[in-house]
């Protein structure tokens, strides 16, 4: 079902844990949908010095969290903003169709953490929008088109 990369990041998640007194924390998803992601950022001089995550969710959710954190580590805030779900999926060699929403969640968690950082520090990050309250419906394709 999953690629080797996904399985690797699931079995040995990178950056799992939390950061005490993080500069930014973002939590997205909800238990109803079965996925909650929380990302912690430590940012110094506009650079993501450290990043950690905690995730309640399926294999893909854990793997995308892990990969997303890897991708932003050491990046500037502006660069981190461009770590999209597409980038995460590509880095994982793809995800099953029904799991694409997990990668979106990772993107959202990251942006929520950045937003939190910006708010706490009273700065504006160009191109970053306020995270919307979740409750995105997971609508399945109607195969009976």
């Amino acid at each position: 079902m999953y690629t080797e990369k996904v399985m690797d990041h699931f079995s040995n998640p990178r950056n799992m844990g939390e950061i005490e007194n993080a500069d930014g924390v973002g939590t997205v998803g909800n238990a109803k949908c079965g996925d909650i992601m929380r990302i912690y950022l430590k940012i110094e001089k506009g650079i993501v010095e450290d990043v950690k995550f905690k995730t309640f969710g399926c294999g893909a959710a854990i793997a995308t969290s892990s990969m997303a954190t890897e991708l932003v580590k050491g990046k500037t805030v502006q660069e981190a903003l461009h770590v999209t779900n597409k980038a995460v999926m590509e880095a994982l060699d793809g995800l099953p169709k029904v799991k694409v929403h997990c990668s979106l969640l990772a993107e959202e968690a990251l942006q929520a953490a950045l937003w939190d950082y910006a708010k706490k520090n009273g700065i504006v990050i160009e191109g970053l929008k306020e995270p919307k309250e979740e409750d995105h419906d997971h609508e399945l394709d109607d195969e009976e088109e």
Partner: protein, 394 residues
């Protein structure tokens, strides 16, 4: 099957037993005639089907004239429910079922609901049992069918089918039961239990996939679902799957022969596993009824973790198991059964189903208990929900 794999998902499917396959083999390459043909070469195939019909009938206390072969449990459910709906529509349009049926029943009922039928979904209590008084008072003049599963595939709860049958009979309503998980595991006597229709599936009891049967009590009107040739006394068209039917017959015979000893043996494993896990893993709960439960079924919820991740970790350690969790079915909603017994969403997402088979051993169970503890701890470490919970405890 890989020797190092511990297969704990017998409710999903079983292997076809060697003895069963051996019975089937001649009908592929040698005695392959079409049972509807009149030459001698094909006549033996008709006889083989009759033998299987007898084996299936015996297993549930039916007459062999009351057994019709299908392509599986799903077809049996579809046929029973749609067939009765159509055959008795002059009498009424009301069907009673439960909120914990298999999708083969639920989605069929939903389909009928879109086509002018009224469906009552009886709720269940926290153990997964329906309330018999609620059933009784749900029956009205327009009720043409009660369809309630014998034993639930996820949480293993076994309904009081005899009592349901009695109520149905008193009120003159036809009673269908999806017994896909029960046949071969629990004693069934369709006549004593007043069951009018009963669905079975081969691949849940060491028979071949793509086989099933529907018991239809003599006198019950049931429109054909599959139209075409005159097979199965004109009630189910299509060239008979002779090897499959032979396999189903043999498998059901073997299963009922072994039933008593196996159900005792597996129930012991079950109760041992339940005791150990509830004891050793905090924030875990057993889903389904403690006593009125399939002998081979265990279903746990582990708070703060998600089922699919749990399953994959088990898989990485060589254990094949299942979950009522969202992800397993391609859908993202948590199990309708777990929600129906009142679990909140986040807990419904973290369930684990272990279903034993004839080869399951105590050693396997001990291994599971061992690895399960580590996996649950690991996933909780990752879980923001667990963090939040600990936070609140402080």
């Amino acid at each position: 099957m890989d020797k190092t794999i511990i297969y704990f998902d017998h409710a999903a499917t079983t292997s076809t037993k060697k003895e069963v396959l051996d019975e089937m083999l001649p009908y592929f390459t040698q005695s392959f005639g079409n049972p509807s043909s009149i030459y001698n070469f094909a006549v033996s195939n008709k006889n083989a089907i009759d033998v299987a019909r007898d084996q299936v009938a015996k297993a549930i206390g039916a007459d062999e004239k009351e057994i019709f072969f299908t392509s599986g449990g799903t077809e049996a459910d579809n046929w029973a429910i749609k067939g009765i709906a159509e055959s008795y529509k002059a009498k009424g349009n009301h069907i009673i079922t439960t909120s914990i049926e298999h999708h083969a029943v639920l989605h069929t009922c939903e389909y009928l609901a879109k086509n002018g039928y009224e469906i009552t979904y009886l709720p269940v209590d926290s153990d997964g049992l329906i309330n018999l008084d609620q059933l009784r008072s749900a029956i009205k003049d327009t009720t043409i069918l009660i369809t309630i599963m014998f034993a639930n595939n996820e949480i293993g709860t076994v309904q009081d089918v005899e009592a349901i049958g009695k109520i149905a009979k008193e009120k003159g309503v036809i009673f269908h039961t999806d017994a896909v998980q029960a046949v071969g595991h629990l004693p069934i006597d369709v006549h004593a239990m007043n069951i009018d229709l009963l669905s079975m599936s081969g691949h849940k009891l060491y028979g071949p996939k793509g086989t099933g049967a529907l018991y239809v009590k003599k006198g019950v009107k049931l429109k054909a679902f599959m139209h075409g040739g005159a097979q199965e006394k004109g009630r189910r068209a299509g060239t008979e799957n002779v090897p499959g039917i032979v396999g189903l017959g043999k498998a059901i015979e073997l299963a009922t022969n072994h039933m008593e000893e196996e159900s005792i043996r597996q129930a012991k494993l079950r109760d041992y596993l339940i005791g150990q896990v509830l004891d050793k893993i905090p924030y875990s709960r057993l889903n389904g009824h403690k006593v009125n439960r399939l002998p081979n079924n265990v279903n746990f919820s582990f708070q703060f973790i998600e089922g699919e991740a749990l399953l994959i970790m088990l898989d990485l350690k060589g254990v094949s198991a299942s979950s009522g969790s969202a992800c397993t079915s391609g859908s993202l909603d948590p199990s309708h059964v777990l929600l129906a017994i009142g679990l909140p969403h986040e807990i419904a997402h973290g369930s684990l189903r272990i279903t034993f088979g004839e080869k399951s051993t105590l050693e396997e169970v001990d291994y599971l208990i061992e690895i399960l503890q580590g996996i649950v701890i690991r996933l909780r470490e990752m879980s923001p929900l667990y963090d939040d919970f600990l936070e609140k405890q402080r």
